[in-house]
Structures are given as C-alpha cells and as structure tokens.
Symmetry: C3
Subunit: 209 residues, 3 copies
C-alpha cells in the first residue's frame, strides 16, 4: 500500500517536472523534439540519478509507465501552451515547486527502504528533488533555481526534515507526506510571493558583486 502511494506520487512528480521542462523549452523557443528532450531530462533526471546512486534498476526502464506519464504530460502541456495567448513564468516555478516537493519525499523514502541512515536519506531526497530541474536550467542556460535568491534548497531541506521528524514520531504515512509537501511548497511559494530570503551563508556586503 505504501508502495502504491509512492508509485502514484512518483508518477505525479514526473508529470509536474515534465510540464516544467516543456514550459521552459517553450520559453526558450526550442525547435522540434528538443522540447521533448529537455522535458524528459527534467522529468526523469532526478529519479534516474537516485536509482543509479542506490544501485537500483532505473525506474523508467523497469516500469515504462513513467515514460508514458512523461510523454503524455509533455504532449498535453504542448497542446495547452499552443492555445494560450500568454504563458507566465510563474506556472513553471509552480509545477517545479510541486515536483521538487514530491521527488524530495520519494527520494527520502526510497533511500530509507534501502536501509541508509537518515543523513544519507535526506541528502538523497534533495538530490532527487533538485537534480532534474538543475539539468533543465543548465541545458537551457538559465541561472539554476538553486542559485537564486528565493528559498529553494532551503525549502527542500525543510520538507525533508519535516518528513524525517513526522516519520520518527510514527505519524501515519499519509500525514508525513502531506506535512512535508505542505512545508516545502509553502516555503517555496511564500518566498516567491512575499520575497522571503534566507540571509545565512551570505556575503555581508552585497554591494561587492
């Protein structure tokens, strides 16, 4: 049953990231199937890295329904985009936040199932959540979201810590997931809306740059 939840979550996360890649590809005006390549890398990159690191069979090779989810999400996103007069960059950031929050949890859970310690699991969650979007930004020559001012890795880490805490308190699965999702998305979107900024680890005089 828990495994069903995670299968579903993974599918939804893949679809969100596929849409974020499509939106970015559209923004960058990529021709032909290049958009499909970028969106696929975004959707599958994080989970692929996670499975390779854990020495698991790669999820989309073992279960091709992830590929169908990816390609369907791209196809639907392309159709919608073509019929909208204006697509705001905000949608990209929104689906990216949702995908990142979901992949974070899936990464932690898959890692814990493998019997790793919690510090490895949280690192793996961040890897899974961040890597797909990072590859999208690198390929599209954008400043990676991880490097921008808004809470990104901080939101991801907070979600991971929430999941770990709730899980240690033996809260039921569904609430662990919902709690971690809520915290991640709340911090991330809150930062985008209200300009919350973390000021740890920063240069003192910003003028310098």
């Amino acid at each position: 049953m828990a495994s069903d939840y995670f299968h579903l979550l993974n599918l939804i996360g893949v679809a969100f990231f596929a849409i974020s890649g499509t939106l970015m590809g559209h923004e960058k005006n990529i021709g032909g199937f290049g958009v499909v390549v970028v969106a696929s890398v975004t959707a599958l990159g994080g989970g692929t890295l996670r499975d390779v690191l854990l020495n698991h069979p790669v999820f989309w090779i073992a279960e091709p329904d992830y590929l169908y989810a990816t390609y369907s999400a791209i196809f639907i996103a392309v159709i919608f985009i073509r019929h909208l007069s204006h697509v705001s960059n905000y949608y990209m950031l929104l689906v990216d936040a949702l995908g990142m929050a979901i992949f974070n949890i899936v990464g932690i859970e898959k890692s814990l199932i493998e019997g790793t310690t919690m510090i490895v699991a949280i690192t793996m969650g961040m890897t899974t959540g961040i890597f797909g979007g990072l590859m999208r930004d690198v390929i599209c020559r954008e400043v990676p979201l991880v490097m921008r001012e808004e809470l990104y890795s901080t939101a991801c880490l907070s979600g991971g810590l929430t999941y770990a805490t709730l899980s240690l308190l033996e809260v039921s699965y569904v609430w662990c997931i919902l709690g971690a999702l809520f915290i991640t998305v709340f911090l991330r979107l809150g930062s985008l809306h209200w300009g919350w900024q973390p000021n740890i680890f920063r240069k003192r005089s910003v003028r310098k740059q």
Copy 2:
C-alpha cells in the same frame, strides 16, 4: 556476428564524437590536455550513461580499446587541425551527426538485447546519441545543438523509429543499420543545408523572444 557489427559501429561512433569534441575544443582555444578531456567526455559520455542506466559494465572499462580509439582519434584530429589553415565549424556538425546517428542505433540495440520494451529502447538510443554532444556543449558553454533550430533530436528520433520499423519487419541487420543511419544523417544534414525546420511545439509568435 551482430555483436561484431556493433563493436565496430561503437568504435567508429566513439571516434567521430572524439573528433567533434577536438574540433570544438580547438574552436574554443582550450589549452593543454583540456582538449583531450572535452573530447573524451564527448566520445564516451553517451555510451557511459547508457551502460550505467542499463546496469552494464561501462564499455570503456570493460574493453579499453574504446579508450585507444578515443585517444587515437583525438591525436590524429589534433595533427590534422594544426596543418590546416582553416577549420570550418561544418566539419564539427558533420562528425557530430554521424556519431549521433551511430550511437542512436547502438543504444537501441543494446537496450533491446537487455529485454526492454521498444519505447525504452528508443529513449535509450536518443540518450546515447545526444548526451555526449550535450556534455561537450555544456562544458564549452555553447548553446546545445539539441536547442537549436535545426533538426537534431527530430533526426535522432526518426532514425530510431526507422530502425524499430525495419527491425519489426524482420529486415536483415545490415539494412536496419544502414536505413536508420541514412535517415538520421539525411534529415540532420538536409536541415543544415536547406534550412528545414520543424514547426511543431513552437511558440506561435516568435517575435516575443
């Protein structure tokens, strides 16, 4: 016998990509052995990712003759370049197209041998064909070929579909390979020469950018 073909194809593909990396590194005026690093990543990147994803032993670790092919091709390319007064960017695109077409087929075939479904195999072919050149472009801070206007991923996908179709029709190996190679290279070079452009998945008003 089929395995011999693929060994040979792989060697040729590796050499083509090594040359493309050398040409790009030369263009970028990289010093010292940096050119060798970039060219090696280009030559070995796609196949390495394929083997890691399929959980195969990595091809150049299992059979070091791929390393010899890579380093020989780089060495020969460097000598030629130094004795030519002018090296056009066109050569880079040409060897890249040939390497991509070959790696595409090798990726599909290796994946099918592992018993994956066709959709996974075609995805794996594209991964193998595109990833090495993508890493070259990212390291050299060029706009990745995948993102440019010319048919690139579309040519790769068409070659993969050709191979799949001919293979399903039980055409003999050699013709499957030649057919897929021809389609990929024809579309790619046709696009470069005559400016063929795919207009699917594109923004309607290009002016916006």
Copy 3:
C-alpha cells in the same frame, strides 16, 4: 593499512573540494542552503561518478562519515568566510588544486584495485579529480577550470603518470602518493604563479578568437 591511507586521503579531498565549492558559492552570492548544495556536489561529484562507473557502492552512501566531513567543512568554511573582510579567489584555486591532486590518486588506486588496466585507471583518476570541480563551474556558470589557459588537466595527467611510474618501480605507497601529489600541485600552482602555459593542441593564431 593502505586502505586507511586512502580513507583519510578521500576525507581530506572531500573537505578541500567542499571548501572550494563554498568559496565559489560565496563569490556567486548564492542564497540560503544553495551554497551547501553547490559545495556538496563539488565535494562528492567526482567520487560518486568514479564509484558509479566502477559499479561500486557509492562511497558517501556506504560510509556516511564522508557526508559529515563534507557538511563540517562547509560549515567551518562559511564561518571563516563571514569573519574575513576579503576572500581572494586564489584560495578557491588552491583548495581546488589540492582536492584535484588527492582525488586523482584515489581514483587511480580504486580503479587498479578493481583490476582495470593502467590506461583505464589514469582515465578514472582524471575523471575523479576533474568532475566535481567541473560540475561546480557548470552550475555556477563559470568557465570550467579545465578550459582555462593554466595547466589543469595537464597537471592532473602528470600526477597520474607519476603515480603510475612510481608504482611500477615498486616505490612504497607513501612515496607514490607524495610524489604524485607534489607533481600535480607544483605544476598547477606553478602555472598560476608564473603563467606556465602548455602550447600543444593550440590554435596557431590566437588572434582569431
């Protein structure tokens, strides 16, 4: 005992690269935990790729003390940076050189233990030494050190060849390691200080660019 040396060397290499990533992240004024992400990728990237290629368990998953070393080094580096009025880019290049020299040796040794040939081992050493810093530069949108004028891959290769030669001459472990470290760091820092430049593999007329 040899394995103890390499465990210690690996820990030191990880810490050096973590510091180099922190310095780069600071330079780029990354907010929040983004610095931790970039520094972790720098510290763990090269070794992770090495273990994945050799089909080993990934070192920081098998032994989480590497994660503690990474996070501690980042934490200490952050504290130091905040209390210094000016951090020169030179420190980044210095710790990067030390980390690269160490990872080069660890990569060669791990590869030889796996029974690969020397050409594969030297390639693996360069991969381990260069990849983490390369990812740091790509994520931070800097010109990768590998592409710059100063001896970088050349120093790395020279260190690897030194290690291979001393190892073949059956010199004791400690001297193999010290010799290779010395050659790599000496060439790299010498190039930075006195502007040594390799002029092989270069365009004849530099004016062109």
